[in-house]
């Protein structure tokens, strides 16, 4: 897994690539934590290049969602491929997260 950080306006963007599992999710959590500590909003997590994500990856995103909500910020996810979207649906998280189709849309107001 590789995480690249960018900024666009006030948006803190995390571009995630590869496989997110119990081995790699701590690195994603650590990088998100930095933006959460500085109260960035919106936080945008681009999953377009994620080939696999498991429940530890979901747990990391749920933690971030709760943290961003604590200061009134927003977390948006974009670029979910059909396999990743299916996981969100199985866990009924597609109704909980703000899912956007593109990074540009996710970085908007």
């Amino acid at each position: 897994m590789k995480v690249t950080q960018e900024t666009q306006g006030t948006a803190a963007i995390f571009i995630v690539e590869g496989q997110v599992d119990l081995h790699t999710s701590p690195e994603l959590r650590s990088q998100l934590r930095t933006a959460l500590n500085s109260r960035s909003s919106p936080l945008v997590v681009d999953l377009n290049a994620v080939s696999f994500i498991d429940s530890s990856g979901l747990a990391t995103l749920i933690e971030a969602l709760k943290s961003v909500g604590s200061y009134g910020g927003k977390l948006r996810l974009c670029g979910l491929n059909p396999d990743v979207r299916k996981l969100f649906e199985l866990a009924r998280l597609n109704e909980v997260f703000d899912l956007r189709t593109s990074r540009a849309e996710a970085c908007g107001p």
Binding site: Q19, L22, D54, S55, A59, I62, E63, D83, K86, A91
Partner: protein, 140 residues
């Protein structure tokens, strides 16, 4: 004999290797990529639970994987040498209780046709995961 056996350490760094083996097993059994991805998720959740609950995160313990490869049928036995893990102790949280964790067993049961835990002769747990290809359901 249509079975592949391998042993991996209880180290999360080996999860991609487990998925590589499972991908090839599902391909040999004739599963489509979408179903294979679901199986990969279920197996990852299962092995992750072994690492966390049977071995308490210790990375140098033994996990045996026995992969059956008959057509249109996926079967994987995951054998650990820890202690028997009561399935009720790792039961899933209610889905509307939004908190990190507690989804692994729900995902396994949603995806696989059979998820069975039983104590094994090594003092640990054997978890069997089975999935039938859609066309094979009800015919075996």
């Amino acid at each position: 004999m249509n079975e592949v056996r391998c042993t991996v350490p209880s180290d999360t760094a080996y999860l991609p290797m487990v998925r590589a083996m499972v991908t090839e097993g599902a391909r040999l059994a004739g599963f489509d990529p979408e179903t294979t991805h679901g199986i990969l998720l279920a197996v990852t959740e299962a092995v992750t639970n072994v690492i966390r609950h049977a071995y308490g995160g210790e990375p140098d313990q033994r996990i045996d994987l026995l992969l059956g490869t008959r057509p249109e049928h996926f079967r994987l036995d995951i054998v650990d040498y820890g202690h028997f893990v009561d399935p009720s102790k790792i039961a899933s949280r209610p889905l509307d209780d939004l908190r990190p964790g507690g989804l692994g067993v729900h995902l396994m049961k949603s995806i696989m046709d059979r998820v069975e835990y039983r104590p094994n002769a090594h003092g640990g747990t054997t978890l069997t995961l089975e999935k039938h290809a859609p066309a094979a359901k009800g015919s075996s």
